[in-house]
Symmetry: C2
Subunit: 107 residues, 2 copies
Amino acid sequence: MPKVNLEDKIKEIEQPWSPIEVARANDQVVRMALVKGEYHWHKHSNEDELFYVLKGSIVIQIENHPNIDLHEGKLAVIPKGVEHCPKSSEEAYILMFEPYSLRSGGD
Amino acid sequence: MPKVNLEDKIKEIEQPWSPIEVARANDQVVRMALVKGEYHWHKHSNEDELFYVLKGSIVIQIENHPNIDLHEGKLAVIPKGVEHCPKSSEEAYILMFEPYSLRSGGD
């Protein structure tokens, strides 16, 4: 039963938009990503996606809805089927809690 | 799509060992609890449980294994079926990521 230090995990990340696996439990996974710049619009047809901001701030753009400004220590759940596109002008580190089946780039 | 501020959630907690729901996604739930003193030994037969320390430090006692000392910013997964008992001499706030079906007190 290994411990995971999130500060150490941050050091493993070399580039934005390339999530690394932090932990697995049941059929779920915790992934960490560096957010910098803008991702692409996408959705996950079958999976909700939970975003938690560990460091910095991000904006999650949502189709036909106001943006979600998500600051450090805050979380939000993007329901399945909802088109979204995260972005950040500064570097930010996030955790995503999601089914292992979820493909970060969308489907 | 509401945002959740974990600092605000901390203020909602009035007593130890009484988890509150922070978010739900898919068939999973994020629960927050105040840890102070010692819980009881228990296990979850069918669910892994992910512990993340938001504030302070906890110790997770594990049957037939060394204790897991879990400090702020660290996480660990207790596999299904493993008897465990969290404790903390000082107040600590944790998040638990787990299937909604999981009963915090064990089964």
